[in-house]
Amino acid sequence: MGLDLLFKIAGVGILISVFHTALKQAGKEDMAHLCTLAGFTLVLLWVVQLLGKLFYTVQDVFKLS
């Protein structure tokens, strides 16, 4: 369940790395930074969803609040 997400994040990271380099070589610095920001946001969305699940589970297990 979590393994595919890990590989997805790694894939996005590598892809963004390549895009960043390519756009930088083409002289489009601003586009390269936007590309990085978009990838970061996408991954952050996934991570935050998983984090919410973890916190919900911890609350459930340890009877917090």
Binding site: G13, H20, L54, F62
Partner: protein, 128 residues
């Protein structure tokens, strides 16, 4: 054999993080954060079984559920605090990790107040 799975995932993600740390450190942090969450989610299911045993034992020993619940809450707070602090420390933000740990300590203290009050009450009663 869940432990083999966890160690395997850990190795793979370590390689990926090493690969990515040089030019994309933010993705490396997100990768390690996700790995931590995944491992915690796997482990928490096991923890639940142990906690059920504790509940059964407490019921047999006629211990008030209040104490056990407080104890569990403290463990949970310590767990989440440690998790947050470690992620921040991994990212190189030792100051933020210190603040999180401080907040966790205060929260644990607040949770322990009823028990401390009870202990002091008992001591006062014992005194002539």
């Amino acid at each position: 054999m869940e432990i083999i799975k966890i160690v395997g995932i850990g190795f793979i993600v370590t390689m990926l993080v090493l690969m990515m740390k040089k030019d994309r450190p933010e993705f490396a942090i997100q990768l390690s954060l996700t790995l931590t969450i995944v491992i915690f989610l796997i482990i928490l299911n096991k923890v639940q079984v142990v906690l059920q045993l504790f509940y059964d034992l407490a019921e047999k020993a006629n211990i008030s559920m209040m104490y056990l619940n407080t104890l569990l809450k403290i463990i949970g707070i310590a767990y989440i605090t440690e998790f947050g602090a470690q992620v921040c420390k991994d990212a190189g933000e030792g100051a933020i990790a210190g603040k999180i740990e401080f907040a966790g300590k205060v929260m644990v203290m607040v949770m322990a107040i009823p028990i401390i009050a009870l202990v002091i009450d008992t001591i006062v009663k014992l005194l002539p």
